[in-house]
Amino acid sequence: MAEEESQFEEFDQIDFLKDRHVRFFQRTLQVLPERYASLETTRLTIIFFALSGLDVLDSLDVIDRNTMIEWIYSLQVLPTEDQVNLSRCGFRGSSHIGIPYSTKGPGVLHPYDSGHVAMTYTGLCSLLILGDDLSRVNKQACLAGLRALQLEDGSFYAVPEGSENDIRFIYCAASICYMLDDWSGMDIQKAIEYIRGSLSYDNGFGQGAGRESHGGWTYCAIASLCLMGRLEEALSQRELDRIRRWCIMRQQSGFQGRPNKPVDTCYSFWVGATLELLDVFQYTNFDKNRSFILSTQDRLVGGFAKWPDSHPDPLHAYLGLCGLSLIGEPSLRKVHPALNITQRAFQHVQQLQQTWRGSTGSCSRQH
């Protein structure tokens, strides 16, 4: 009996403060502290963290969906009348370039206005989370914009003007193709070759060939292959077992992103979801994982930080929730490990795709 009581005390100290997190995300959607100014160009990703976070908390009712949907559509880079900018289409991160607000076409030509693959990905996710039917998304333009970003080696740029290229953007591309149910947006085979080439000697994945293995890139690799439906084709049983081993060794209490680095809340999702996709998440220690995540919880303002006694931020707040969801935290919705949205939102995607297939009479054009 005495044991039970002390366990209860422990639980009180590390209880999950759901309401605080809801308010944290609400505030994120209203205004952000000054130190986030440098993230303005990627604002849509922050919106995604907040929206998906609220979805995981089953609290989307606190926001005005329609206004949000309109704003996201205003970020779509649409084709111009003469369609000369098709390879630059997609979604932008925010209005920082200064294109006049508009939620419908035709697009306006600007030398530096283009989609960004991570914004297209989070934009589509956000619309789906909000229950939108994507009817105002110019799918063909998005896919054309996506094709323009893939390089010979299979990896992707983020923007058509060029940027660094690596496995993160393959994941964005795979998610986009999956959501739009159209794989003509990328050369799957080349992407698989790049992914395989990124497998390191210690059986984690690097950002590209010869680069150090890392929990985030390992997630991108495995989740991409799962979305493509090619996991077992691309990796042998032995490779998969080795990858499982590398991942499972990342748990120290929470999870670390690389060997000999401190544990960080976000890896409870990146590595946790990878283990879930590889069918071995149940072998991790849930209690220690939960204790660590909750030790980074901010009891005053809500949200989670990467480490204890640090400032929370939307990314770690969202991924901390996803990490808790994976271990079955009662008040949280389940998260789809490959697409990184709730199962509820995922079902919405599936229903939408069924209606699309029904009306065109064609199956998913998977290569």
Binding site: S38, I97, E164, Y201, G210, R258, V280, Q282, T284, S310
Partner: protein, 583 residues
Amino acid sequence: MHGRVKVKSTAQQEEEKRKEREKKLKIYVAARDACFSKRKEGIWDDEALQVTQQLLSSNPDFATLWNYRREILMHLETVRDEEEVQKIYQAELSFLESCLKVNPKSYGSWHHRGWVSTRLPRPDWARELGLCDRCLSLDDRNFHCWDYRRMVVKMSGVPVDQELAFTDRLIGSNFSNYSSWHYRSTLLPLLHPESPEPHSPCREPRRASPPPSPQTHSHRVCEEQLLKEYELVQNAFFTDPNDQSAWFYYRWLLGRAEREEMISCVYVSRDEERVAVAFSRPVNAQSVGLLLVLDGQPQRVEWRSVHPRFKHSPVWICDLPPGTISDVTNEHNLTVHWTEKHTHRDCALYTGRSESWCRDSATDQELFRSELSVEKTSVLQSELQSCNQLQELEPLNKWCLLTIILLMRALDPLGYEKETLAHFQTLKEVDSMRSAYYSDLCSKFMIENTILKMEYAEVRVFSISDKNLTTLCHLDQLLLVTHINLSSNQLQRLPPQFAMLQCLEVLEADNNSIDNLEGLFHLPKLEEVLLKNNQISTLADLQPLASCPKLKRLDLRGNPVTQTANIESELTELLPSVTDLQL
């Protein structure tokens, strides 16, 4: 979003900060607008460089501005002479240094520096390497810096042995420098490549697919260098046995290439007029060019996996047209071709025989021992000795225990079975966070040992009871098994993969926690199923059994389902072929 530690501040400090921020914001907005209006007008001049510089100093992640800056610089290349261009780019490098001081992990800054280095008329690679050294001394795990260094090395043609010496220095001063071990793994195969493996004479030259990943094959390093590396890495883990770096590297050094892809077994049965094929890895039979030839005639057959769940499976089945092989007085020759891999397997069905098979034994395939190089037994033995020495000094070190287990399995899995089980027990205690994973791993090794024993005895009976089994695996190796005993373990389900046991006649699985029988699906020869004391709780759980046409005997005593109302009559209806039912 990088971790920022909380710092308390007074109200006055807050106010001062606020005023400073407002001032900064005004300047920022003015600069941004000036920038874009210039861009719009197509102005690429020094002033434009100035303006973008101001903005990027405070926000190096504004990727569009880096692109604009590159446009300006490329334009200036065309209108200035080489000396001036050299100066401009050098100034660019200085500017980038200050950006990197503020944020050493900015993708935009590193990418731009890489771009500048390739356009500088007279690059100073020594300076670039010096920058990397400084950056790494502050944070030796900064992968941006490592990646940049790799690019510099490539561009400047720094010889690989020099870089290897660089890792020597880093590792020498700090063994737990994981990034250095990683870098070493990429350099070693370049400097000391092993000669390519000779083709085995009886096989057609094979195409590797999927393509091997560059890093996962240490067989690409020649033996002489490998032995030196073993020494180096041993120094590391003897110095600090708790550091992961050396152990992961060690594991890679000991590793071995993937085995060849092939058809591992062909089984044919006259009774069902069916052919079952097992592959060395899961395939999609529809897309790999699978061809069945019977007595010289290609057959049109439909291949299906053992369970509708699987598009990819190691085992595929097809039915032959009725009457093709049913006459026991006829002899038949079958060949299954895996055209994609240019390999095939023959199987002869003799007169008087109702079934036949052709299979490489697990030992021949080196199925379970091929994690490590088997031909270097003496090396492995000396490695095992070293690890055992360390284990005496550090009995609670999990890395050491894991490595010992690995080496034992490589040397003699059956001979070392007792020690392996004992080590797993210790491992579960010292690294209890992963005890479920170790239970699973141990189950896998016990199954492998049982398969080896079964083959040595040349029987088709697989018996592994009372071994704390938590999971089933290698089911594709059990295609020919007729009797299986899994009693008194901790199994919770018979997964869909269990349907690969196409020859199974008797299943004993008493005293487990089984509540799921998905894998007992269309098993054509299954006659007896013993499931006493399990967790079968509903009639629906027993549904798969209805697909087994020859099921005669079923023992469900000690399962919750026996308490269901009218269970006996329900079962008679569901499973009409069962004559011996025990509840």
